[in-house]
Symmetry: D3
Subunit: 230 residues, 6 copies
């Protein structure tokens, strides 16, 4: 953790979460994965997909950038391996459009699957046409400079959540969740178990059974003092 | 009004706005209904549909919940009658994803038509596929606990607007409007009259006639001091 | 500039940016135009299209309105010439739905191509069906009064950007950019040059070449102190 | 409740909460009163005193105003009786400075004790010098018009909370709380009991006793699964 | 206006508003000056003094800076003449602490009277001890780089308001107002007239006379449809 | 880092930053410390002192709480050692008043020096009278429940910044900065060196010397393209 927040470093070699586990996490989706790891790992809800229906799972290449400066995204491109998702934090709140279709083209050519950025993105329509998935705080055409170095592959805080390089990233219409690298397999197992369990519940609820009965809530509710009146 | 904001109560029996009136209000839509009742009843504009094109009209089953706690939504499910829309207020600002596809399945099985929640919703894509209409302050995967009792069918303030159980709720792409139960028929009448009136205006405006002339604004504008210069 | 922010004036005669230049700017799009004029002219990122895919370029008819009052939009309708986009500022922050399908019908009948408003719009679905492009701060059904005069065709600040009547306005999924009238041709030239230049870069990036090499960033990055570690 | 949100009405005669109870509530303060009535009645935290140390308790004269229009505050002045606090809601979000030192002078001359406004206030320094207590959403010099009628002494929602004319209002550095008129005495009793209880707790906590023991939390925490590790 | 928003320029020679007029405007204060120039010129209400009681009037030296970069504030220092207030806009939303006690020391040594910045300030306590008046969007210790040139003495938009170099700036507890250079004398006259007029009103209101009568509002209110009920 | 964000754990034994270093950091203050550690460690600017002039430096006891639930603050009290500052993160955005004068009394009795909370605080006036320093996101009287377990002394993200138990915390009017435990001495050295350096600069700037000359900026500015015009 000694490199947390430090500028001027690019770490070439990182360990990545298991590719199979990452794929399984993607199938479970953000809401299920978040629950499966004990309701942790979720970024703030202002992170929204640039185009509806976007979904991705991959391993994090992390970037620490300065406001209005996207230099480090070019540096990050070289660090991408197939299956990676680039995750960008900025040293201060900033909405500038640090990422557009050219960088998306470059990232994809290197095997990059998507982008999560606690700042702005632009070329929204082209990103949608390319089906390149991006989650951002804003859509903003504001161009950036290339003047101040940040870091690549150091631990960062992105949209309120700690991300270490190589962590599993799952993102869809419900937001973005981070799974620590070493827990990817365990969380994937828990997520699949949870899904199976939900399937049977869905059928019973669809048949009109109440959650009150399905989850045996009536007694604890009464104990907690809930009163029914007419 | 003595139960306003009180926790720990579920009211089983409520009077609902006239079903026919509610249906007519839905056809008029939010903007027209809001105008027709004297520009009142509108929730704050941060309430947005989870999927575009969602539209609903129904009678309110109200819920008062605690932040990060969706216990009372399960309690509310049992109170739903066909034609109801569940309206949820939280005792403090909160974005957690209190509602997802399982609760949507349950609500629909009971005859529930939709949800209006001054908090977050999740499973956004599944809700869209189910065509279950939801208006919320946020889309957030954040899971909730079931630990503290709130109330069902007490008067609440949701997104800045007072809602009594049984009130008519109309929601579409323009937001959410509340019509007090006893005024539903009168407002439906006024809304339909307004629509008819707008139809003829639309044709004249489309033909190039100016609102300045159509609404006879030139004289009051001059009186208010408006000056034309070249 | 002496009329900046002044209420009670309608300027009938304004000079408009060259129609051909405006059309060319529209083809380049917001992000490119913003870069081409030295990263200036962009409105704040809270300005979003009411329906996805909306895009327009035109010449500004400017409006200064009061909060909750859309009287001046009717006055503006008469000033519209084919190819115009109406741009509305409010004297204070306000989200009310000052513009809906009737005004859109009227604007279109006069040759108006779209609307940019630092406030709310309503009838969102109808605007989408009409394909009438609108950028706004909010979608809100809140109706407005017609009680206080503002101005038409005075210089305004809309969403943080200065707009003079007759300026070129370009808007799409990436936001809204303003090009001063007298610079429209020069900026259109610069934008097209930029696009051509990007085309060749896109191909090289798609082939896997890195921006680091394409833009010769390695040396300046090293000079700025960037260190690679393993 | 039939007058909720309705414009164009001034209700001359209202019942007010018991003056003695209101005074006792003021002594207990906002935080204690809020707890004493079951954690209800609190306005949103964006309501802040214009000058530090302001504190007031009184009976509500309610006002419904339009954005950027303070006409109804002049109407309200005539309805003030000694011991009243004027509470202002606006039909939409608005920060304009609807209230300044002249209105404060007028309100005070009529016996008004303070103001709570879900909008802006101005003349901040003079209000502080006058020691006239005001809670507002913003401090803003923005002047207002007098063009559109609202209402006085109808039920309103102010900063997220329902206020009926005559309700008890308590405000201090912790915010603003509303106590329904008919509950003022009971809540004052509960608040005083709570205070007495807190006094003894404060002494024990100051002596180093832990809340864990004072409130017997160790067992429920263990039951809830809390684990201590080294 | 051709230099609006342009980076890379420092204009050495500017015309300043009349010093006497600026002093008179300062005595009238923000709220009165804003009213006196027809309710125009006010910056957004998020601009707050760093320490309570701060008040200043002066002539604008304008700065356009980039996010997280305070290089141009050093450039601006050389352009300051006695009686100036430096007004800083940033090319995008940014809260970084661009200004602290060292720059305040430097500005004061050059005759600068204060700072208005649409970004952050730091060293809040020292600024208060120095009695150097600053209005900002945030107080934030975040340090900045010196990497990208902006401009000095070009027209800017600061907190939603157009500011030309040499304009009169008045700031106090109520916010910040801009008076165009050439209007400074006329607005100072109008402000003083307004103050005199208010003085007599204050006395009548303090004696219990109602604004309803003082401003003859009863008839227009009745015409506008206001109804009194019991 | 394996305990990051995990609920249900209390870590009894933590290593704390060197007390002497923490004291020295406090003397340097937030802005200097932030610069001295390479412009890192700063929490978001919405963290503000509850009373002006508050300042503290100490070692972090960390708390992870649930929205609207302050149970873990009572658990944390037992973990406090003299010289500690309690730092509270919540699992989701929340403004509730989790901390008031009773907990302050308890924390102080255990040797706690202050509180940093990414949520609300209450009893603002009493906290000021007690001179107990608190930084929070909001002042809100909203009471909380004690129903769901979180954690004490796990790594957390508070107001956008990673905090490990035992880290040095420095807070004053400029905000809150975190110094990793093992870097406390080195950063204290760097901060003091920086202060000394600033002292001599302050004198030269006060004498009218320009930062342009003091920092030798004229040449780099010219290289970056800055042009002076008349």
């Amino acid at each position: 953790m000694s490199e947390f927040g430090k500028s001027g470093i690019v770490k070439r070699t990182i360990e990545r979460a298991d590719a199979k586990a990452v794929e399984r996490l993607g199938k479970s989706g953000v809401a299920t994965v978040h629950e499966a790891q004990g309701r942790t790992g979720l970024m703030k809800p202002y992170m929204r997909p640039v185009w509806p229906g976007a979904a991705v799972s991959g391993t994090a290449v992390t970037v620490l950038a300065h406001p209005g400066d996207n230099w480090m995204l070019h540096v990050a491109a070289e660090m991408i391996k197939p299956g990676d998702v680039v995750v960008v934090a900025v040293t201060t709140d900033n909405d500038d459009g640090m990422f557009g279709d050219l960088l998306a083209t470059s990232f994809r050519a290197r095997g990059g699957l998507g982008l999560v950025i606690d700042a702005g993105a632009r070329d929204a329509r082209t990103l949608a046409e390319m089906k390149f998935p991006v989650w951002s705080k804003a859509i903003h055409a504001k161009g950036t400079v290339k003047a101040t170095v940040g870091s690549v592959n150091v631990p960062i805080v992105c949209a309120g959540m700690l991300v270490n390089p190589g962590d599993a990233i799952v993102a869809d219409d419900d937001g973005v969740v981070v799974v620590p690298r070493e827990r990817a397999n365990a969380v994937a197992d828990a997520a699949e178990a949870r899904e199976k369990n939900e399937e049977s519940k869905r059928a019973r609820l669809a048949a009109g059974e109440l959650g009150l009965d399905l989850y045996a809530m009536r007694e604890p509710l009464a104990k907690a003092g809930l009163k029914y009146i007419d």
